[in-house]
Every structure is written in C-alpha cells, then in structure tokens.
C-alpha cells in the first residue's frame, strides 16, 4: 500500500512542470552553471601573485589544515581547489532541501488544494501507509537529484582539475561523500517533516512551499559562514551537521506524524 501511494504520487509529480522546473533548474544552476562561471571561466585567465593573497575573505581565513593542503600549489590551483571543495559544499544542501519540500508541499498540501484528499482519506489505507508513501515520494526523487547533481558537479570539476593538477581528480572525497550521503538525506527528511506539519495547517501548495522555505535560512547561514571563512566544511563540521540534522529530523518527523490526522486535514480544506 505504501508503494501504491508512492507510485500514484510519482506519476503525478512527473507530469507537473510546476514541480519539475525548480527540481531540475536549481541543480543545473548549482552543479553546472555556477561552477563554470565562478571556477572554470576565471581560471582561463591566469592569476598571478603569491597564493591566497589576492582572494576573498574565505581564502584569507583558511584553517591551518586547509593551508597545509594548499602547500606547493600556485595561486590559481589553490583558488580552484578551495572553491571546488569548500565554497560549493553548502550549496549542495540547498538541493535536497528544496526538492524535498517542493514535492512534499505538492503531495500533502497540493492534494488538499486540488480537493483530491477526501477520496484518498476515505480509502482503507492507514495513516502510516499514507504518510510513509508520501514521505518516500518526497525523499527518493530529492536524493536522486542530489546524487546526480553531485555526479555532474564532480565531472565538471574533475574535467577541469585533471589538466590543472597534472592528472589529479579532486572529487569525490570523504567530506563530499559524507555531505551527499550523510547530511543531504537528513536535511531532506527535515524538509519533508516540516512540510508535513505546515501542510496540515495550510490550505494550498504555494502557502506550504512559502512557509517551508524557512528551512533555507540555516542552510543559507552555512553558505554565508563558508564564504566569510567563519566555518569550513571539513569532516568535523560535516559530522556535526549530520548529528544536528538527525536531531532536527527526530523532532520534526515526530510532530509531522502527530499532525497527520484525517480529521485535521479535512477540517482545513480550501
């Protein structure tokens, strides 16, 4: 029954451009367009001077561990190395969060808005079967999009770094694997749980999506922290993030499951 709900929602999502557009466009922007504009294109013109001295505050505030990694690199190589492995890391947290909350908004609040929820709730499916089916359809596509984006980004960066670093491939590395397969699932689940809670209280898809965008704030703070050099996505930070988001997931999913009540959902039909 869980897979029945999953298949039904998946068919609907595949045919909904309102959902597909952001899920496809944002990853393309983050994994192809931005790296090309920020890393590849400037690198085609040579950067002179000693390493790290002509760059951003992020470059100036690099922790000693990263500085050690840059030892012996030219300014150009150092910049490409830091931008590729550190600068873009938090951007990849936006992808699972955005994808999961957009799909979950449509799956939960969208059914209320389109008034299809009543017949669904009248069917002999348990609350947990319905909830799990809808959570899976929000979770799997967002993880697939994240993993594919990571593969594309790695290819773009490696194609470029292969010649720049004399045959060395920068990605994947441990931190990025932890990020994509550790932080991204937990952040996607947080997005789904929050959207379930919100969807139970709002009447429509857009309202749910707008409110669930609130979860982007901590992710954007991570992006700003990285750019300003306040935090760096090393193994420790990524490990801490996994722990934080697992805790957030437990809270959000607990309240999400509690808020998924047939009567509550119907009482707030548009």
């Amino acid at each position: 029954m869980v897979m029945l709900v999953f298949r039904k929602d998946w068919r609907e999502i595949r045919r909904n451009w309102q959902i597909l557009l952001p899920i496809v466009a944002v990853p393309i922007l983050i994994s192809i367009v931005l790296p090309t504009l920020i890393i590849v294109t400037p690198s085609l013109s040579s950067i002179s001077g000693p390493p790290l001295e002509n760059s951003t505050s992020m470059m100036k505030n690099l922790p000693s561990q990263v500085r050690e990694e840059l030892a012996g690199m030219s300014a150009w190589q150092a910049l490409v190395y830091v931008m590729s492995l550190y600068f873009f890391a938090p951007f990849f947290l936006i992808i699972p969060l955005m994808a999961s909350s957009v799909i979950a908004s449509d799956s939960f609040a969208g059914e209320k808005e389109r008034r299809t929820i009543e017949a669904l709730l009248a069917a002999p499916l348990s609350d947990s079967e319905l909830l799990l089916g809808k959570m899976l359809v929000s979770f799997f596509p967002s993880m697939i999009v994240t993993a594919v984006s990571f593969a594309v980004y790695s290819t773009v960066i490696d194609l470029f770094s292969f010649s720049l670093f004399g045959g060395r491939l920068l990605l994947p590395n441990l931190v990025w694997i932890m990020l994509i397969f550790g932080v991204a699932p937990t952040i996607a689940l947080a997005g789904i749980g929050l959207t379930v809670i919100i969807s139970a209280r709002v009447k429509g898809f857009r309202e749910a999506q707008q409110i669930s965008a609130i979860l982007l704030i901590p992710v954007l703070m991570l992006v700003l922290g990285q750019v300003s050099g306040a935090i760096f996505f090393g193994p420790t930070v990524v490990g801490v993030l996994i722990g934080v988001f697992v805790t957030v997931d437990l809270f959000v999913l607990y309240f999400g499951i509690r808020s998924f009540k047939r009567e509550e959902i119907l009482s707030r039909l548009a």
Binding site: K8, R11, E12, E118, A123, L266
Partner: protein
C-alpha cells in the same frame, strides 16, 4: 440487520452543532435520501459514516461495524462519492480507477482489469481510458467518480450530491445510472442531496434534515402527503356558478372549495379522494356544469420541501 444505523449521532465543531442527535436506519438494498438545504449537516453525516471524521456523541454502525471502533472495516465495505469528484487530473482515467481499485483491495490483476473494463464500458468511458482526467467534461468526471466509488463492489454506497453542478441532461444521465446500478449490483445507497428531483426519482425513503436535526422521514409520497397535505381534486369547468358550488358542498367528504377564476377551475380538498371524486363530478354535471378537465393534484416533494424549509426558518 440494517445496513446503516445511527443512534443519536452528533458532531460538534466548537460551538456549532453540525449534526444533532440523528437517528436513522437504512435497510439492505434500500436507496435512502438525506435531504436538506446547504449547511443542514448532510456532508458531515456522510463524512462520519465514511470514518473521515469522528463523532462527538452517539454511535453509528455501517454494515454491522461500529464507525468508532472499526473504521478500517467500515472503509473497506463503503464506497463514497464525495461532494467534489476527488479525481487526479494529471492521471488518466484508467490510472485513477486502478489506483483506487488496488487501494480497496482488488489485488488480483486480472480481476481488477475485468472490473475496470466492466465499469468503464458501463459508464461509456472505455474509449477515453487513456485520456487525462483534466480533459474530461464535468459529467464524465462525475461518471468516473461514481465508477471509482463502486470499483470494489461495496455493499454500501454513500453519495454526496451526485448531480451537483451538472446541467439537467447530465444530471438525468447520472440519476439513471445510479438507479440502474443499484438494481444491477444491489447496493445499499445513502444519497445526500438538496435536489428534490434526485430524491423523488431514486429514493425508497427520504429524511429531511435541517440544522443537523431530523425534521421528517418517510417515503417520498408519505412526505408529500404529510407536509403539503392530501392531494386535491381539480375540476376545470366552462363556467362556474353558485348552484355548482352548493352541489359540491353537499358531498360529505368535501372539506374546502376554492375557485381559480382565471382558469375556471374548482380546487376541492376532500377526504378519501378515490371514493368521493366520481360523486363530486356527477353532482357538478347534474347542477348544469360543463366539465372540461378533471385532475388529481398531488403537491410535489419540492413543494412539500420548500414549505417545510420556510416553516423551519420562521
């Protein structure tokens, strides 16, 4: 055993009592109409019976299962047509009905396909099976929604405003299909409607509810008699005069006479119409009246219903 049984069923939303101690028994195979104006509590009653919302007081059994204690069992044996068709517009006709067939337990693929084919043929939707529901007309969507409602052959069907929003022709089509289906598959039907025509043409018995309370119940004919009074005898004459009126008044069963001057019709309220009508006509003829037309006027359920709702408001 009754198919549906309500005992003091009540639903409160805060201070508002939407359904107020409703008692009702629907026997197996019966088409029972729940009539009432908008906001009377019909949809809330259906939602409670379909286990979509809980009751505040009282109890109800559907197919012998208590709605509070065995909601999943109730959902399995009930087919509900909600006020809105509740169809997935981005899915095809076939995908919609397949989803619900499986959700209601038709796991055997061949059995499921046979049933879907049977229903889509019956509702003349087979040729549109691969079209997205969003492309269908309102009438077709309603047909599909009814097909979805009965896909698992539920013994009990709850229909909430099945002809609402349809043009008269489509509404008649849906009514005919419901009548045909209930005969073919012997469903027990609880039909909620504010369209008197639906109740009059489909229902074995009806109950009028208002503000969540039972107002009156019975067969459509009983309600017509009880609410709007006995039928009247209408005699259209070429010319009326006092002699004719005196002659009619001599008949013992005559209670009241009035004259519609514009049409020259005598409106005669009588006891035991079947016996007294020939005597009244004979008296009129002997008094010199020239009879053009004789009719028995029975107030429609609609007239009866409107009278009742006016009384309730005042």
């Amino acid at each position: 055993m009754p198919s549906i049984e309500l005992n003091g069923l009540t639903k409160k939303f805060g201070l508002l009592t939407a359904v107020d101690h409703l008692d009702l028994v629907v026997e197996g195979g019966e088409i029972f109409g729940l009539l009432g104006p908008n906001g009377a509590g019909k949809t809330t009653t259906v939602r409670m019976l379909a286990c979509l919302i809980s009751s505040s007081e009282g109890s109800a059994k559907v197919g012998g299962f208590d709605i509070s204690e065995e909601p999943t069992k109730v959902r399995e044996i009930v087919g509900i047509l909600t006020e809105n068709p509740s169809l997935y517009e981005r899915l095809t006709v076939r995908e919609n009905i397949e989803f619900f067939a499986e959700a209601y337990g038709l796991y055997d693929a061949q059995e499921r396909q046979d049933r879907i084919r049977e229903l889509l043929d019956f509702f003349q939707l087979w040729d549109r099976r691969n079209d997205k529901v969003g492309k269908l007309s309102k009438g077709m969507k309603q047909k599909l929604a009814i097909a979805r409602t009965i896909v698992h052959k539920p013994p009990i069907i709850l229909l909430d405003e099945p002809t609402s929003g349809l043009d008269p022709e489509s509404a008649k089509g849906i009514r005919d299909l419901i009548a045909d289906l209930s005969q073919r598959e012997n469903h027990t039907v609880l039909l909620c409607t504010h369209r008197l025509e639906d109740a009059e043409k489909l229902c074995d018995r009806v109950m009028i509810i208002n503000r969540g309370r039972r107002v009156v119940a019975g067969t459509p004919e009983e309600l017509q008699d009880r609410i709007a009074g006995e039928p009247t005898l209408q005699v259209r004459l070429k010319k009326t005069d006092q002699a004719i009126l005196r002659a009619v008044k001599e008949v013992e069963q005559v209670r009241e006479i009035s004259v519609d001057d514009t049409s020259g019709t005598l409106l005669i309220a009588v006891d035991n119409l079947a016996e007294s009508a020939p005597e009244i006509v004979t008296k009129i003829v002997y008094a010199g009246g020239k009879v053009l037309e004789v009719n028995i006027h029975r107030p429609s359920l609609e007239e009866a219903y409107l009278k009742l709702v006016r009384e309730e408001k005042s």
